[in-house]
Amino acid sequence: MSRQQPSIEKNYLNETHGFWSWAYTLDHKRIGVMYLLTILFFFLVGGVLGLLVRLELLEPTNWLVSNQTYNEMFTLHGVIMIFIFVIPVIPSALGNFVIPLLIGARDVAFPRLNIASYWIFVSGVIVLMVSMVHPIDTGWTFYTPYSAKTATSVTIVALGIFLVGMSSILTGLNFIVTIHKLRAPGMSWHRLPLFIWGIYATSIINVLATPVVGVTFLMLLSERLLGFGFFDPSKGGDPLLFQHFFWFYSHPVVYVMILPAMGIISEIIPVFTRKPIFGYKAIAYSSLAIAGAGFLVWGHHMFVAGMSSIATIIFSFLTFSVAIPTGVKVFNWIATMYRGSINLDSPMIYALTFIFLFIIGGLTGPFLGSLATDVHLHETYFLVAHFHYTIMGGTVMGLFAGLHYWFPKITGRMLDEKTAKRAWAFILVGFNVTFFNMFILGFRGMPRRYATYPEKFQSQHIISTVGSWILAAGILIMFYNFIRCIYKGEKAPANPWRGLTLEWTTPSPPPTENFKEIPVVTDWPYSYGKRKDADG
């Protein structure tokens, strides 16, 4: 285990100074940090919007805001959380930092494309913020015909999302070529860390699916601005075509959200269990399988929209297939932990929380994927609970796990474990109180996207709102821990967790060039105990 590094050692943070040395940087680590700060800021903005939505729902009437304002609030909450936060956060922020380190490279394949992607992302975010002068009210799903006709700034938002999507595409392209071409000598595909497999599968989705939403928004814009008739029934167009195109992207994108998080879990569990990962190849290939299967199921968002019966049956059948590779991962993580020496430091408790919450989110999927039950549950709070369990209970918990795991590497400091665990307790309790309650609310018939509701639902709404405050408190404590420990945290050694992946062989924080010498890899990164490689 390495000794602590002297504090004046040159690293990627202090090697050069000044705004332009960051704005024009080609260093993937700095780019990752810039993405992280930008995105986490907007996570808080989106979170505040979520709290406001829940605040209005304390009363069954419009006690805080009008219906119009409420529609704008939940739309903006969704747009920010999905496009600015959950989609890019792990790949573009953590991924940019960690991928070259994990594969033993000095940087990504196309560093200039990388910094360009960041600035394209920022321009998209700025455009989205400009749209707030006249907030949109369509829901983050922008269904036509309303989105083609409404007077709100759909045009500006569409442009913003186009730019943010462009950033995802270019980042995905960069990562694919990086993983193919820049692995250290000896790092064959079966010696890759599982996070890399997850990112690889994610990048394939980003490259193939995102352009479709791009052209969808182009078509929406052309309809709004120039009277094209693609989605306009009065011109023979089909509003459902918008939904096909939108969901052809937006379903695979939820796998963009979850695959990197699953990759993080696959990294953390062996380290904190001191055991080789069980079923490396199964986990690796299940990432590809999830990405592939994810492209086959988009129609399950449209069961009651007016599709043909044949389409609904086919999409429902295919929807069940995605559960299989997902289940493979969950069983393999649990098998890894069996008879392991478990260390419950903060990365691990978030990883365990991920597994717990994602299982709940995942198991509630089939209820929605089955045609008959979906007729009752679609567009109710059951759906809202399902996607918050999978996205927040899944991706966001995975993100928190990854932040706690790699915080020492990124900042050169350790987090305060007590505060971390205190924050976690609030988050766990707050999250479940807020969202588990919503499954029942949905079953009882409460529809989503309504500011007002029948009195009989009020007590449950109050429960969820109070839960949201507990959750918010936990997140604030967690952020306080991050900020405080950047300055006052204990100095971190190169390998605080005794991990075997390559990022732990370089100082915390790493020097700009990552490694003094490119390492030669002779083993897989999970050689805890006796197992020597993926093939046993």
Binding site: H180, L208, V212, D238, L240, L241, H244, F245, F248, F295, L296, W298, G299, M302, G306, M307, S308, S309, I310, A311, I314, F315
Partner: protein, 87 residues
């Protein structure tokens, strides 16, 4: 130069195929007009990809990058048609 010769030959073939596809469009073949046009277009596209874009001399990895996305194009068309064709 040898390379030039190949390119010129491919170019001439493309021009001939263009003439062919225009002539076929004047015949009344019903649905086979579309089939013929798409087949000819695909042959032209393959020639451009294989010779002009050098796919012919590339390794399997590049072929994978080139061919794999076509499956997804087919997927979005087929999937949407399962709805729109059978409403």
């Amino acid at each position: 130069m040898r390379a030039y010769k190949t390119y010129i030959f491919v170019w001439l073939t493309l021009l001939v195929l263009t003439a062919a596809t225009v002539s076929v469009s004047y015949m009344q073949l019903g649905v086979f007009n579309a089939v013929a046009a798409l087949i000819i277009a695909s042959v032209k596209a393959s020639l451009v990809a294989l010779y002009f874009m050098h796919l012919r001399h590339e390794k399997e990895l590049v072929w994978a990058f080139a061919l794999f996305p076509i499956a997804f194009l087919a997927l979005i068309i087929a999937g949407t048609l399962t709805d729109t064709l059978f409403r």
